[in-house]
Every structure is written in structure tokens, then in C-alpha cells.
Amino acid sequence: MTSKEETLATLKNRIIEGKADEAFEMTQLSLAENFNVSETLTSMTDAMQVVGDLYARKEYFLPNVLTSANAFERSFALIQPKLLESGSKREKSSKVVIGVCEGDIHDIGKKIVVAMLRGAGFEVHDLGRDVPNADFIDKVREIEADIVAQSALMSTSITEMRDFAQLAKEEGIRSKVKYIIGGGSATREFAATIGADGYGLTAQDAVIVSEGLVS
């Protein structure tokens, strides 16, 4: 392998292994060596695809996925300005606004979904946790999102999802954005009752459903 191939392969492997410092070093090296930033990003997203597969096959569990997602996020933050500067567009550049519903601070699952979606090439705008519905609406408008994704672990928070679906209609954006839900308290049946376009039980589901909605 050439030095460039070796660096990108090492970057990919360090993300899979969850070694954030070493992945960060490889990302720095890729920038210092002026690698095409899209190629660096591809190595990183390929790594998260592998992590997603390992998670789906129950070979990776929460600690492994979180460390990989952390490594991905740190390296991604490093190349993000360069990506914007170069105007680099990946094949898939659909925009997703994501967050945990107001009143709910459980966001481990959402963080995994964010990493997986970024790994799959989506442009993800993560609003965090305990997010009011109005903030989702504002962000969808601001970036002209293709998908808005809400997560809730607590049973009480799923009422926020119902409220969001209604608010999105009232605000005139519901027909312009696909709406998906997930999290411990959401179900496929509930998604249907509030007219959501998709439901995901797992992080992998979120990617598959999102890809299906924008394809």
C-alpha cells in the first residue's frame, strides 16, 4: 500500500477500534498531507458502516459503538471546516435534523444514530436532547431539511412526537419534510398513528429507513 492508502486504512481501523486519539492523529496527517478531504471522509464513514454491521450482528455492544462514534466525531470535527471550504459534496447529501424530544435526556441511542447516519453520508444536524418541538421546526426551515428525526426513551415523551406531527402541519412544513421516530418508547404502531413516515427500532434501521425515504 502507498503511504496515503496506509494512512486512510489506519484511520478507518482506529475508528472501528474506538481509538479516538490515534484516529485524530491520522486525520491530522491526512490534512497535513493534503489528501482529498472526501477520501478521508469516505474512510471514516466506511469505518462507521463496519461498526454498524458489527453492532447489528451483536459483535459490538454499547461501549464499543460509543467509543467508535466518539472517534468518528472527533475526526469529523477536524475535517468539517475543510469539507465546507472545499464545497465537497458526497453522493448522498440529504439533510437530517435530529434530536431527543423535550423532557427526555436519554440520548445514547440518538448519538449512535447520528454517527451511523453521518457514516452513511447524511448531513446531520444534531439538536441534542430535551429539545422543544419549535426548535425542530426552526431548524428544518433554516436548513431545508429532508428528514426530521425524533427520539424518546420515556413513555411520556412520545406525546411530544404527536404534538410535533400536529405542529409541523400547522406550520406548513409537514409535506416538505419526511418525519421518522425511534427510541425505547416509540413503536411502529405509534408511528403509524401519528402519521410518521418511518420508524426505526435500531440505529441501523434509522439508516435504512432514511435511505429509503430519500432515494
Binding site: P63, T67, D104, T156, T159, G184
Partner: protein
């Protein structure tokens, strides 16, 4: 069969004998607050709680639902956080639960500081003292006939909730195992002492410990390393000091090969004497693979965020009858939700669930 007291009923189940009827353990943490028409700030602040109100809402749920095994106070998962320098959030919205805004241990420097505050004694300060006072009130009122159980989470979950937060502790397990063990050990020491204090305050029955990680979030190998040893220490200490068995609530699929291996360790190594999994476990599986195999009682699971919360009543009745019929033969069955009963569970759903469990679960079973 002659009607038993609730204490006799639960004791029969814990010994895998037939009680007069299948008991219900609804695992109430926050629901009682909302059943009273209160909101959380009515009962707790970040630093103190109202012990009388904790007891009042607990006793109110017993009156409303007539279930069989009671946790002696309002509880959430974040006792000790404020005392160790973290921050919690007390939500005002109906149905919400207390959460952690900022863990006490964000980095190594924090850990050095927090270690100087450990062990945190729940008898001396903070919201925990009110919880213990509530146990005293509840056990005085109903303890002669009703199991008043202590409830706290073993090392990994205790460390997650009191010290480090879920993400960072999970990453520690992968990247810095010795640090993870230090935190979990501290969590377990607090858990054992808090349970001890609850017994000292009037708890009189089986010890509930609930493990959030389980094989849901950890691999069997990670469970073997980070969960089983601490559950073992907890259950053995409680048995040694109070002669009480430990009832384990856990998450994840224990039907898998790896899950079954951990289940075997829980029973044979960690001495758990009651298995309360989540909704992934049908009653017939629980009967065959846990109750009959290991001769320990099981919880038949009503999914909280499913039928219990959303109904309809006909589904609650069907699910209840199915659980009792499939897993109740011969005794050793407790009816329970898949996790904490949802805080906003409708009163009628809850009442009917208990009523139908007692009705269909009357022994001798047909």
C-alpha cells in the same frame, strides 16, 4: 386455598411454592407522585425531599391498586449526585422523571475530588435521608402484612447514575477498564450501604436490584466482567446481613446463547433468587428456562409502554391471562412490568391489571 397476607403470598412465590394467588409487583418509582395529582417539584428538590409526601404517595398507590409488594418510598435513580458535586434536573412536566444534568465525575480530576467525599452516607444528608424516613413510615403502616422491599441498583448502574453518566462509563468499560472497575466498585459499595440503610429503616422482604446494562447494552463477556461480580457481592452481602434473597431486574435478551450463559452466572454464581427480565421474554420461556430449570421464581412481564400504558383493557386482560396461564402453574410467578411502571400509566389500566392477575391467578389453577 385460605387467603394469605401479602407477605405470606410473596414469601410463597420466593420459595417457588403456590401462593393463594399470583402477586403483583408493579415496580413503582415515580408513578405514585402523579397518581396523587402532584408534580415532582411538589415532593423533591435537588437537595432534599419531603419524607411524608414520599410515604403518602406510596401508601396511596397501595390503596388505589391493592398490589402485593411495595418499594417504601418515591425513588429515582439519582440519589447522591448532588452531594457528590453533580447536578440533577427535577422536571415540572407531568409524567417526566428526574434525570442527571451533569455527572459528578467528568474527568480524572473530578474523580480525585469525589473520592474524598466517598463513601456517601445516605443516613446523614441529602434526599436519601428522606427516602429512609419514608421507609420508616410505610413499614410502620403496612409492614406487618405487606412486603416492604429495599430497592437500589448494583455497581454498574449505580456508578452510571451517581458518578459518571451512561456514555462515559460505557466508554470507560471499553477504553479504561481499571477506571471503570474503580467507579463500579464505588457504586456497588454505595448500593449495598443504601440497601442496608433501607433494611434498617423497616424494609422486611426480598431485596430488589435492577441492572440497566444487562445483555441489552453489554456483550456477555462485558456482563461477565462488569456486572456479575458486583451483583454477586451485593446479593451475598444482603443475604449474610439480613437473610434476604435478591430479586434481579435486568434488560436484554436472555434467550440467546450468550444471554443464557449470563443468566446461569446470575443464578449459580451471583445467587440471585428471582429473575425479572424485560418484555422480550414470553411466559412459557420463563417457565421452562428459568423457573423449572433453576427452581427460582420469575416475573411474568406486562410491557409497560405497551398495553399497560396504552390499553385497551381487553388487551391487558388477554396478556395478563396468558402470562398467568403459561407461567403460573406450580407457583413461583410474580406479575411485573417490563421496567418501572410508566409514570403516567392510567389508573384504570393499572387497577384492572392487578385485579385480573389476582382473578386469573387464583390457586389451585385450572
Amino acid at each position: 386455598m385460605q387467603e394469605m397476607t401479602k407477605l405470606e403470598r410473596v414469601n410463597a412465590v420466593m420459595e417457588c411454592r403456590e401462593p393463594d394467588k399470583v402477586p403483583v409487583y408493579p415496580y413503582i418509582l415515580t408513578h405514585g407522585v402523579y397518581a396523587m395529582g402532584w408534580k415532582l417539584p411538589d415532593i423533591t428538590t435537588e437537595t432534599s425531599m419531603d419524607a411524608k409526601k414520599c410515604a403518602e404517595c406510596t401508601l396511596k398507590t397501595l390503596e388505589l391498586y391493592d398490589y402485593d409488594m411495595v418499594i417504601g418510598s418515591y425513588q429515582d435513580l439519582y440519589f447522591g449526585v448532588t452531594e457528590l458535586g453533580g447536578k440533577i434536573k427535577i422536571p415540572t412536566k407531568f409524567g417526566s422523571v428526574v434525570s442527571m444534568k451533569e455527572p459528578p465525575v467528568k474527568d480524572a480530576n473530578d474523580w480525585e475530588r469525589v473520592q474524598k467525599l466517598l463513601p456517601y452516607d445516605p443516613r446523614k444528608s441529602g434526599r436519601a435521608t428522606a427516602l429512609l424516613d419514608s421507609y420508616k413510615i410505610v413499614s410502620q403502616r403496612v409492614g406487618k402484612t405487606t412486603p416492604v422491599i429495599p430497592c437500589w441498583w448494583p455497581g454498574p448502574t449505580a456508578a452510571m447514575c451517581m458518578l459518571r453518566g451512561p456514555e462515559m462509563l460505557s466508554m470507560d468499560m471499553a477504553m479504561d477498564k481499571s477506571f471503570a472497575h474503580e467507579l463500579i466498585k464505588a457504586g456497588n459499595e454505595f448500593a449495598i450501604d443504601f440497601l442496608r440503610a433501607q433494611y434498617e429503616s423497616g424494609a422486611n422482604s426480598v431485596c430488589h436490584t435492577g441492572e440497566i446494562y444487562g445483555v441489552e447494552l453489554l456483550s456477555p463477556e462485558q456482563c461477565h466482567e462488569f456486572v456479575v461480580p458486583y451483583v454477586k457481592e451485593l446479593s451475598r452481602t444482603i443475604y449474610k446481613e439480613f437473610g434476604q434473597k435478591t430479586w434481579l431486574h435486568t434488560h436484554g435478551d436472555y434467550k440467546t446463547e450468550g444471554g443464557q450463559a449470563i443468566l446461569k452466572e446470575y443464578v449459580e454464581e451471583a445467587n440471585i433468587a428471582g429473575f425479572h427480565p424485560d418484555e422480550k421474554h414470553p411466559p412459557e420461556w420463563l417457565k421452562e428456562h428459568v423457573k423449572d430449570k433453576y427452581k427460582i421464581p420469575v416475573a411474568g412481564i406486562m410491557h409497560g409502554p405497551g398495553p399497560l400504558l396504552n390499553g385497551p383493557l381487553s388487551t391487558i386482560e388477554d396478556v395478563t391471562r396468558n402470562i398467568v396461564t403459561k407461567a403460573g402453574q406450580g407457583g413461583g410467578l410474580m406479575m411485573a412490568p417490563s421496567c418501572e411502571v410508566p409514570p403516567d400509566t392510567p389508573v384504570e389500566n393499572f387497577q384492572k391489571w392487578v385485579e385480573w392477575t389476582h382473578q386469573y391467578g387464583t390457586y389451585p389453577m385450572k
